[in-house]
């Protein structure tokens, strides 16, 4: 009780002298706000990415890749394999008894962003003739579907809003052909909305790279997956990996979100070290400015624990203010912002930053840790002060 009153009294005194130390204290607040803002907004990318990817893929669809290829981009399936895959067990058949599958291939297009004109790689996906049955969630929202055997493309909703020259009627020059945009589609907010689509056969005939990269199959039900997988792996003529579509995309986003998180923690960590030094510097000078006061209080009988606690409390409160400001800045400026990224197996992707409350709390926790680290040594200096000596040094 007496202890708390001591700490409270000393901390209150420190705070009253804070106006004389505004500028150095502001350095800490701003520094920590910066660290937290960067950390939270970069982590918001990985949170947003995970959210988007969680929307991509269904349990009753499977994607087939060449054995050992982790992603579509590094996979290749020849026509013969594609035919064999279509005969696998568990695939849903239409009224005519034909399996509902789509053998697909992807190419990279280079497009210019609307906002800063930067060049970004975008996926042009070549799909099979039954693609609409495989992906019933795909809806044309403007224009029409592409026709077979002509260089027509449909563009995903977020690609349409992000890139120049993707309006219906525009022509995209790429891969030695002029692709006419004939429609805009949406797929319920998943990652395909960042891509363009055309017929696989059209794509293959233009650049003569005569193979598919993946086959996506609609299954009878989610539980048919095992049968499908078994039937393909037991076929000696096939060397393929079979993955549930949802798991595939989650795996892909996991790699990327891990990379983003690592970047966030590395950048945030480096900045945090800087902020710790700023806090150290500020708190050391705060303690130096008060050596006389501290010595006087110690002479009057205040304990060294009260000195430690009050310095730590000041550092912590400055850090807390900085942390809250940083988290709020990240939230105000970045929450809901769309960003695009390329990398992993997915090419370019558009998704929303998600500054979740958990992320903001994480940011504030970081701020507090920075504050405590920055306050600890100055606090110990205040505590260890030889009182008699400090009283002489006027």
């Amino acid at each position: 009780m007496k202890m708390f009153r001591q700490i409270g009294a000393v901390t209150a005194m420190n705070f009253r002298s804070l106006p004389q130390r505004v500028s150095t204290s502001l350095v800490v607040v701003i520094g920590i706000a910066g660290v937290v803002a960067v950390l939270v907004s970069v982590l918001a990318m990985s949170t947003g990415l995970i959210r988007t990817m969680e929307n991509t893929g269904r349990d009753d669809r499977a994607i087939v890749l060449r054995s050992g290829s982790m992603a579509e981009t590094s996979s290749a399936l020849d026509r013969n394999s594609a035919k064999l895959i279509v005969d696998g067990a568990g695939i849903k058949h239409d009224a005519n008894g034909d399996p509902i599958t789509s053998a697909e291939t992807m190419r990279i297009l280079s497009l210019h962003k609307k906002d800063d004109d930067s060049e970004i790689n975008v996926i042009l996906r070549g799909v099979g003739p039954r693609m609409l049955e495989v992906r019933p969630e795909l809806k044309i929202v403007e224009g029409r579907m592409f026709e077979p055997a002509v260089t027509e493309v449909i563009v995903g909703k977020s690609a349409h809003s992000q890139f120049k020259g993707l309006n219906v009627g525009d022509v995209v020059h790429s891969r030695g052909a002029n692709w006419t945009v004939v429609g805009v589609f949406e797929t319920g907010g998943d990652s395909h909305e960042s891509s363009l689509m055309t017929y696989a056969e059209t794509l293959i005939s233009i650049d003569q790279r005569g193979s598919f990269q993946s086959v996506t199959a609609l299954l009878d039900s989610p539980s048919s997956f095992q049968a499908f997988k078994d039937s393909l792996s037991s076929n000696p003529a096939l060397a393929v990996d079979v993955v549930r579509e949802r798991e595939y995309y989650q795996q892909q986003s996991k790699n990327m979100s891990t990379i983003i998180s690592i970047i966030a923690y590395v950048v945030g960590g480096i900045m945090a070290v800087g902020a710790v030094f700023a806090a150290l510097n500020t708190m050391y000078s705060a303690v130096s400015a008060r050596l006389q006061e501290i010595a006087t209080l110690r002479a009057l009988g205040f304990g060294s624990a009260a000195m430690v606690a009050s310095v730590l409390a000041e550092a912590l409160i400055l850090a807390l203010i900085g942390g809250v400001i940083g988290a709020l800045l990240a939230w105000m400026f970045f929450n809901g912002n769309t960003v695009s990224t390329s990398g992993g197996g997915m090419g370019q992707m558009v998704f929303e930053l998600a500054v979740s409350p958990q992320l903001m709390i994480l940011g504030v926790v970081w701020a507090c840790v920075i504050g405590v680290l920055g306050g600890l040594f100055p606090a110990m200096r205040a505590a260890r002060l030889p009182v008699a000596m400090a009283l002489r040094a006027v």
Binding site: E293, L297, A299, L300, G301, F302, S304, L391
Partner: protein, 230 residues
């Protein structure tokens, strides 16, 4: 009458670089309750060092320091600061008030270490400020007060918790003649009317004249001990 302060064969050494320098060489001293002691001596003779030992701000290298019945040379640093809070009122040459606090808040500081209620603390602060004649300056900050007034606030702070012993290191060292006299009159009144035991280090022979006993320190040794008739 039992002595309030007893020093037996006290030495104090400082380590300066690799050298050990003995500043006090075997001091024996007793101070009775109610005494007003002036400690005089040339600069560097060890006055502050001796005062700090009596006040429990520092520990002797050898010897015994008995103050108010406690062997304070044997106390730990933590219990020593509690002990100071209970027994010692400090008056410094440069007042050492906390610049951000008003006069009354400064005077209240030692009471924050007690269990007194807020209203009781306020009452005692009021009494102490009245005693030093500064009740009407209670809400002023130190930088709004003259040196003499600041020292009077410091005296109010030193007496507010009713300590056993007042220690003053050159309390008039930073004051003009007029203010110095006011301070000395105040200390004398505290000694005479309130029976406060006072140990005061001073360079100023005029200030020393107010004391009931004059003690001279030279190169770490007590040389002259004079008692004045009251």
């Amino acid at each position: 009458m039992t002595a309030l302060v007893t020093l037996r064969n006290v030495t104090k050494s400082y380590v300066r670089g690799k050298q050990k320098v003995e500043v006090l060489h075997g001091i024996d001293l007793t101070i009775e309750p109610g005494e007003f002691l002036a400690l005089m001596g040339p600069s560097g003779s060890g006055k502050t060092t001796l005062l700090n030992l009596v006040a429990g701000l520092d520990q002797p290298t050898t010897g015994e320091v008995l103050v108010a019945g406690d062997r304070i040379d044997q106390l730990s640093r933590g219990s020593l600061s509690d002990w100071r809070a209970r027994h010692i009122g400090f008056i410094f040459q440069f007042y050492n008030l906390l610049p951000v606090l008003t006069a009354e808040a400064n005077v209240e500081v030692p009471l924050l270490l007690t269990n007194l209620s807020k209203s009781e603390r306020r009452r005692r602060v009021q009494v102490a400020l009245e005693l030093v004649g500064l009740a009407e300056r209670a809400r002023h900050k130190p930088n709004e007060l003259s040196g003499g007034q600041q020292q009077r606030v410091a005296i109010a702070r030193a007496i507010v918790s009713d300590p056993t012993l007042l220690v003053c290191d050159e309390p008039t060292g930073d004051l003009d003649r007029q203010s110095a006299e006011e301070i000395m009159n105040l200390l004398t009144a505290l000694n005479r009317s309130h029976k406060k035991t006072i140990v005061m280090v001073t360079h100023d022979p005029k200030a020393a004249e107010y004391a009931s006993r004059e003690l001279h320190l030279d190169k770490g040794l007590l040389t002259n001990d004079t008692r004045r008739a009251a």
